[in-house]
């Protein structure tokens, strides 16, 4: 089938799927079946090539940051902003952007890819640049061991043609760097005193953290507080205000800066770069704020121990009503063990108003062992949301939720208030 034909067909499926409120990946799947080279042929001619962002935590928000930083430098950027980070999600996103002849009008593609899918992707389309954020215990029911996940990330690095940006503070990721030519790799990192705030997986239960400072980092997060951060770049401290919430997002800002510096080299406009960063807002479900009955409601996606830990550290529970929703569908991970690697004692003082999701009682049990009081447990998400909103009408609210629980909650909230549509 000719490319324009595939394009028209794909766009049609996309429109039909949209009418039915369907998932973002279906049209991509259709196109992929008809023309397996669709993505490759569309992305092949971009002047600045393809950038792949992968790792366990923070892919979506970091990708959003990198896109906005590059746009701030005057580039036209294509990205898979649906958060559908499988190959077919990329195909679906392409369908929305290409013209009827199948041409993509962009300078560069910045793609968030799930570790396992990234391997297949880079096999077909070697990226010019890649950024590897971290590797944490997550979806072990899919990947088996963290070391297996690391080897997938290694393959992304191996396939990258120009420059690789790595997390210096994650031992497994920094080790990948040892296999790469020094000129090809740059790092982002943390000032020593911040290391305990962002423990890598090896340090999750460690009493003291070993520091190896033999590697020099291009961008270092040196300080942060609520709403601002300082970075050490070229031996200069640069401070900026931030709209991003969540301390995990702030470390990833260092990653995004390092990546853009690697892509643009000397051409980078540092002032514009920091200015763009100060305007970036969180991606959907990553600390986004909604308004329900005049009160803010924050949705915080949690999917693995380190993400949940950093979420709890980022947001002060006092004066808030807190809800936790845990599902165990395939996309969430079926194994509940991960809840036991999260420390919930920060919730002791204020307690939790509502627990929900398929595995609500696993969560309740977990909180019982951390002496956190619970007002209500209701596995049914629709009922739980109603109860949660009614119970504390005068308090701002916060919901920690797994991926499929978040989708269900957004659907339910959409009926009550205007929730930003997932494009």
């Amino acid at each position: 089938m000719s490319k324009p034909l595939v394009t028209i067909l794909g766009k049609t499926v996309k429109n039909i799927a949209k009418l039915h409120g369907g998932g973002s990946a279906l049209p991509g799947l259709v196109v992929e079946r008809i023309d397996p080279n669709f993505i490759k042929s569309t992305l092949a001619n971009l002047p600045q090539g393809v950038v792949v962002i992968s790792g366990t935590n923070g892919k979506t928000t970091t990708t959003k940051m990198v896109v906005e930083l590059l746009e701030g430098q005057g580039l036209k950027v294509f990205t898979n902003k649906t958060g559908s980070n499988f190959t077919r999600g990329v195909a679906a996103a392409l369908l929305g952007e290409i013209d009827i002849k199948g041409q993509l009008h962009a300078d560069i593609a910045v793609l968030e890819l799930d570790e396992a899918h990234a391997v297949h992707f880079v096999d077909k389309i070697p990226p010019r640049h890649c950024l590897i954020l971290n590797v944490m215990r997550d979806q072990l029911d899919r990947f088996g061991e963290i070391d297996n996940t690391t080897s997938l990330l290694q393959q992304i690095v191996n396939a990258t043609t120009d420059k690789v940006v790595l997390n210096r503070e994650d031992t497994r990721i920094a080790n990948i760097g040892k296999s790469v030519d020094d000129k090809k790799v740059s790092y982002f990192g943390l000032q020593d005193n911040l290391l305990t705030t962002f423990p890598s997986d090896d340090n999750l239960h460690a009493d003291n953290i070993k520091i190896d400072r033999s590697i020099k980092a291009d961008v270092i997060l040196s300080e942060f507080s609520d709403g601002s951060a300082s970075f050490l770049i070229d031996n200069k401290t640069i401070s900026t205000k931030l709209k991003l919430t969540g301390i995990y997002n702030i470390f990833n800002a260092a990653a995004a800066l390092a990546l853009v510096r690697a892509i643009l080299g000397k051409a980078v406009d540092q002032t514009k770069l920091i200015n763009s960063l100060s305007k970036v807002t969180p991606a959907f479900g990553r600390g986004e704020k909604l308004i329900i009955n005049g009160q803010t409601l924050e949705l915080i996606l949690v999917k693995n121990p380190s993400g949940f830990r950093l979420g709890l550290k980022s947001f002060d529970p006092s004066s808030y009503a807190t809800m936790i929703a845990i599902n165990d569908n395939y996309a969430d991970g079926r194994d509940m063990s991960w809840l036991w690697d999260v420390d919930f004692s920060s919730l002791q003082k204020n307690g939790v108003s509502q627990i929900s999701g398929v595995r609500a009682y696993d969560m309740a049990l977990r909180l019982q062992y951390d002496d956190v009081s619970i007002k209500k447990v209701e596995p049914n998400l629709k009922k739980a949301i109603n109860q949660f909103i009614k119970t504390d009408p005068n308090k701002p609210k916060r919901i920690y939720c797994t991926y499929t629980a978040m989708l269900a909650i957004r659907r339910k909230l959409n009926k009550i208030t205007q929730v930003e549509a997932i494009k």
Binding site: R137, L140, D141, G144, E145, I146, D147, D202, L204, H205, A206, D207, D328, R334, D335, M336, S337, W338, L339, W340, D341, V358, R359, A360, Y361, D362, A364, L365, R366, Q368, Y369, D370, V377, P379
Partner: protein, 240 residues
């Protein structure tokens, strides 16, 4: 309170903790508190001095790399662990340490990783990974509910009792329905989830043995286990 101290030793807490094994330590600690005892947790890692007196030992699963890091040290303390086991010290070892409490682990390329031989069991690396929800049944503990994720398959020697018989899932291996192993008060299992929070009868077994060993008697109190009942019911209905 000082006369009511129970010491829990967490074996290789840094390198063998992959699937929420910390939950087992926390469960023992909290339940001991709820029963009116004063738990004390010692983290033991390779190279540390092995404490003179311990009442319960807990160890978890690791990745292959974690197993390599601790194996030499484990062989060093092996005789001490065996002596403690023979003196009826209760222990719980999950996944990786369960395998290394056996005679050996044979890797895919035929390499033999020696274990301490506390259990007369043998483990062989297989290409298929056994992953999913699992339910087993034991005469002593009833239904045991958890999650398994392992590529090693374990075979019990003669006269070694299994912990349970598999009702859903794989267990020790794909050839028979045994899951885990027991020797005196030592329990080995592939189940995490974590095991003890969702299976408080096993936690209470370990606690009771430790308390009786130390103080001669155990006064059991009623603990509020309402959430665990619901959590078990939900888990039992979930797909593999």
């Amino acid at each position: 309170m000082k006369d009511k101290i129970i010491t829990i030793l967490h074996l290789y807490s840094n390198d063998m903790n992959i699937y929420g094994d910390y939950g087992n330590v926390l469960t023992l600690k909290r339940r001991l508190e709820w029963y009116g005892y004063c738990p004390e947790v010692i983290n033991y890692n390779q190279g540390d001095k092995f404490p003179d007196k311990v009442d319960i030992i807990v160890g978890g699963g690791g990745q292959d790399s974690g197993q390599n890091k601790i194996q030499a040290d484990l062989l060093l303390i092996g005789p001490k662990l065996k002596k403690l086991a023979d003196n009826n010290t209760p222990m719980l070892v999950i996944c990786g340490l369960y395998q290394l409490f056996g005679n050996f682990f044979k890797t895919a390329d035929g390499q033999i990783i020696k274990g301490i031989g506390l259990f007369n069991i043998e483990t062989f690396a297989k290409s298929e990974r056994l992953i999913g929800n699992i339910i087993t049944h034991s005469e002593d503990f009833g239904d045991i509910i958890g999650y398994e994720n392992h590529s090693g398959q374990t075979f019990l020697g003669h006269n070694v009792a299994a912990l349970g018989r598999v009702r859903l899932g794989a267990g020790n291996n794909t050839l028979n329905i045994s899951e885990g192993a027991r020797y005196k008060n030592v329990i080995g299992s592939y189940l995490h989830g974590s095991l003890l929070p969702k299976n408080p009868m096993i936690a209470d077994f370990l606690i009771e043995k430790a308390v009786i060993n130390k103080f001669g008697r155990f006064d059991k109190k009623i603990i509020d286990d309402k959430y665990v009942e619901f959590a078990r019911k939900t888990a039992a209905k979930r797909p593999r």
